[in-house]
Amino acid sequence: MTLTAATDFVAAESARGRGGGGPAPTRIVVAYGFWIFLLSDFVLFSGLFAAYAVLRHETAGGPTGAELFNLRNVFIETMCLLLSSYTCGLGALSAERRRPERFFVFAALTFVLGAAFLAIEAREFAGMVGKGAGPGRSAFLSSFFTLVGTHGVHVTGGLVFLAYMVAQVLVKGLRPPVLRRLLCFSLFWHALDIIWVGVFTLVYLIGDFH
């Protein structure tokens, strides 16, 4: 390699991501676009977080968070979602390394853990509504059900997305376009876990403490 070629190479490499050095690979561009979508999703949730933060003491004489929340359940939910993030990452890694049989195992584990999270959340919601603490009871409960429910709807959407990705891998195999969609799915699933960190901290831990 001549000295010029070497410096050109270094210059081109260091210019990547800043518009120089030629177009970025498709998977980088796709992941960037999906990342922008996820950030806009975070903005949606920030509005719901703000509403909850203001309204969490407005119980209108109804039950408070400390009376309603069961921290043991929340801990199990958190662990389900965290482990499903882990298995989802391992699944994406297996797919990238062209190991479909491993991918299917990890996808199944991700689905089961995500469904377990939703089942615990649904039971919690049903129990609260049964105790007369439904979303119509107070401003606190309205904002609670909106924030936690919107996250739950996202998880449900994620499970549909995952089932759809498994079907694509079955039918089309681990081709580059399928791998890119799989990358988007794993970004989505990890982002849901990040939002859940905010939910359990603000709603359940700080809410329970006060």
Binding site: M1, A5, D8, F9, A12, E13, S14, A15, R16, G17, R18, G21, G22, P23, P25, T26, R27, I28, A31, Y32, W35, I36, L39, V43, S46, G47, F49, A50, A51, A53, V54, L55, E58, L71, F75, T78, M79, L82, L83, S85, Y86, G89, L90, L93, E96, R97, P176, H190, A191, D193, I194, V197, G198, F200, T201, L205, I206, D208, F209, H210
Partner: protein, 120 residues
């Protein structure tokens, strides 16, 4: 020569390059750190290990630490050239989220306070 083939000028738009993004080890390390910070969060909220008035602040700090772990180990946000745009977008997203949360809390708290005056 090998180096000459890697000059980036001949990259065709849209051509896939295989680039392993992470390893099993990094996911496992991330899982370990995330579980650790989660358990610490739950313990801190239920005990008096921290000075009680400081517990909410401690929980928020732990939440940010956990979000950092997720971004680095699960979303693989790094300092490499491929991540420059992602980091800039994230910084902008954080700014918007901060403005929306702080601004909304300010406005809604005002409305909420005035609402109580109207009822009574």
């Amino acid at each position: 020569m090998d180096g000459d083939n890697r000059v980036v000028d001949d990259r065709t738009p849209g051509v896939e390059e295989y680039e392993p993004t992470a390893s099993y080890l990094s996911y496992t390390a991330g899982l370990g750190l995330a579980i650790l910070t989660t358990i610490v969060s739950f313990v801190v909220s239920q005990t008096n290990l921290l000075w009680p008035p400081g517990i909410p602040v401690g929980l928020v700090v732990l939440a940010f630490a956990k979000i950092g772990v997720h971004l680095v180990f699960f979303l693989h946000l790094g300092s490499g050239p491929d991540h420059t745009n992602n980091i800039v977008a994230l910084a902008f997203g954080v700014l918007i989220v901060f403005l929306v949360i702080a601004g909304s809390i300010w406005i809604i708290a005002n409305l909420n306070a005035n609402m109580i005056d109207m009822i009574h």
